[in-house]
Subunit: 420 residues, 2 copies
């Protein structure tokens, strides 16, 4: 007996015809001795509609007080979770229509438990007791993504994009051989194909690389779902929901490093334009000043990424450069400005036309000269590096945003990633 979990997002189930197509894709995966569970999102647009209704009922746009936080979140979850319930019933019907035995399972029926942090719940315990034997007997299970039920039996949601996480959690609970995430791209690419025509689909990528890719702006899989897959060692395959059912559709397998025989030094080039560079000139140079600055920024919910510290021309002073998401930049400046007396900063500059470009690869761990290749390639194109950050499997540089495409193309070529 083997088990497979398949997941389809909102556009894949956007109308009745697409749901019928999903049913055919599921049918093509059926074989003797394999139990199948399918996780579905709400039909595209539906969650937005329900969110709008919940906000309206809570007083948004009206006069007077508006509900928020705990007074809002539990019932928001009740309203919004109805969207996926509808899709489960529709897909079960579409499967039966083509002769596949199927039934829907709501999360409270499984049960698929989460903590009680409404609107952003975390999966706590998924039971295989009922659903496992059911799928093993040949009945396809259709399960709503994005939601769960608390220990006390109330409905929760996992937050936007939580359906990938639902699928991985269910796959882990069922001990599935794999979790297939059907999406609108046919896999994970060496870089953004809109920028580099010679970008290649990767056959395999490690969890660690995928995490770096996801958090750096390659929005194929939700970061949380990759973290969970990594922790539970669930192989995840990303593949297209627009390929003809039954036709070849290899996608990209996200798996353990050990399963990747030919480890690339660099597997991919990622970029993000949503960056701002904050420069603090003439910061007093005494112990605790960095803790003071970054403590204040953390309190203000500014998500700091790269940090570069250097001596200033004036003695007893230093310069500090850091990056944060572009939308956080004004708040970051205000926060520093507000603490000027205590921090002792002479000047604050913000630059918002910057981009972060990164090369990622597990092969880096055992390879020297990776950074040199990067810097040489950028220098050759006359691109100035404003900051550098590295991890074991990643090197990121901050550059002028105008050079983003040029940098990505140059690095893609320099690391031998271009398709033949």
């Amino acid at each position: 007996m083997s088990r497979l979990v398949m997941k389809f997002g909102g556009t894949s189930v956007g109308d009745v015809d697409r749901i019928a197509r999903v049913a055919r894709i599921v049918a093509a995966e059926m074989k003797p001795g394999r139990g199948i569970a399918v996780v579905v999102s709400a039909m595209s647009g539906e969650t937005d509609r329900l969110v709008g209704l919940a906000r309206g009922a809570a007083g948004e746009g009206g006069n007077g007080d508006r509900l928020s936080g705990k007074a809002f979140d539990d019932e928001y979850d009740v309203v919004v979770s109805a969207g996926e319930q509808v899709t489960t019933g529709l897909l079960a019907l579409a499967l039966r229509r083509i002769g596949v035995d199927a039934r829907s399972w709501q999360n409270w029926q499984i049960p698929f438990k989460t903590d009680a942090a409404h609107a952003k719940a975390r999966v706590s315990d998924v039971s295989k007791e009922l659903i496992g034997p059911s799928i093993d007997s040949g009945v396809v299970a259709v399960v709503p993504g994005f939601q769960g039920v608390t220990e006390e039996g109330r409905i929760t949601t996992l937050g936007r994009g939580g359906s990938d996480t639902s699928a991985v959690a269910l796959a882990a609970a069922l001990g599935a051989e794999r979790c297939d995430i059907y999406t609108d791209v046919d896999g994970v690419y060496t870089t953004d194909p809109r920028i580099v025509a010679k970008a290649r689909r990767l056959e395999k990528i490690s969890y660690e690389e995928m995490l770096e890719m996801a958090s750096l702006g390659a929005k194929v899989l939700q970061t949380r779902s990759v973290e969970l897959a990594f922790a539970k060692r669930v192989p995840v395959r990303v593949l297209s929901s627009f390929v003809e059912p039954g036709a070849p559709n290899p996608g990209t397998l996200v798996c353990s490093e050990e399963e990747i025989v030919e480890k690339q030094v660099v597997s991919g080039v990622a970029y993000s334009r949503d960056e701002a560079k904050v420069t603090l000139l003439g910061v007093e140079d005494h112990p605790g000043v960095a803790a003071e600055i970054f403590g204040r920024l953390a309190d203000a919910n500014v998500n700091v990424d790269m940090i570069v510290q250097s001596e200033a021309r004036q003695e007893g002073r230093q310069n500090i450069v850091f990056t944060c998401p572009d939308r956080d930049a004004p708040r970051a400046a205000e926060t520093i400005e507000g603490g000027k007396g205590k921090i002792g900063v002479e000047e604050i500059h913000i630059r918002r036309d910057v981009a972060k470009v990164s090369v990622i690869g597990i092969g880096m761990k055992s390879q020297v000269g990776v950074a040199r290749t990067m810097f040489a390639a950028l220098a050759q194109k006359g691109i100035n590096i404003e900051a550098i950050a590295t991890s074991e499997i990643k090197i990121s540089v901050l550059i002028d945003a105008a050079y983003t495409e040029l940098a990505v193309r140059a690095l893609h070529t320099a690391y031998g990633l271009d398709a033949a």
Copy 2:
């Protein structure tokens, strides 16, 4: 401690503003020592939308086989029941927004159990164990109407209009003092106010009378809900959801006969134009022929109402007249035609331009001359009676449909029902 159940239909919760209004109506009913549960329908139009999706997924309008019956009904229930779930969350939010403590209860959380006859389930057992103490503590419960959960934990629906039944069943389980059904009319009238300007709202009406009124076409309350209220002795009040919250809104109380001190001989005049008259001439007159005819009609799902038998001119023959809903008439004729050899009928005539007019009143039981008043009033207007049927609390006559309004007005006056 007392308890109250309130129910609001689809138009009353049709949008966020109307839901806010319902919240104010609920708030106006709150008082110390009273626990409140509110039963809601799906927002108007929503159930139709979901039914359309379910039928589409099941293959309606497409090529090939279409799912129906058991292969359809359980997942149809999953899809369609999502509509009420959304309303429960929205009303809970709207209540909280005006400072009323509230939460939604899905049927599986209560649990509100039904049998497993999907799409037309019957309520089997409603638990007060969790919801009772919760409302007694001052938290308004918002419950989806129209649906339930089976012993095995699957979602069911009660069939169209089942929300009234949900409300009455919940009121019975909670031992509520009353079940208030908010609707688009402000009560039960002596007759249709569109026909008789002098129609009066009844302050009280007995369950038996209401049952006759409901089944005769006064579509205020669903017949099933009145039957359940009668069986469980739940006082039901029908009142308007469009009166200003807190303003006088007496409605009509549907209650036990014993609670009605001044029993009217006739409480109301009902009519139905959805009737057809089938005349069978020259039917062989021997034992068992009626059983043969009406047995065949029952098998063909023809809902026969009035039956009149009379001797034919020819010896050994009789004439039989019966009525049925207009839509059943062609099927009735076919059925008889198909059995002509066995039944021995000479001629079959159908008349579809007929109407049934009825007078209803529990006072009839102890009063003579009620029928005479009816026949005299109709005769005075020159209206011919084509068939008569009576029960303990009702007299119905079949007349030419063209005279419907005239007959209703004449009877309303004859029984002293006109408003001053």
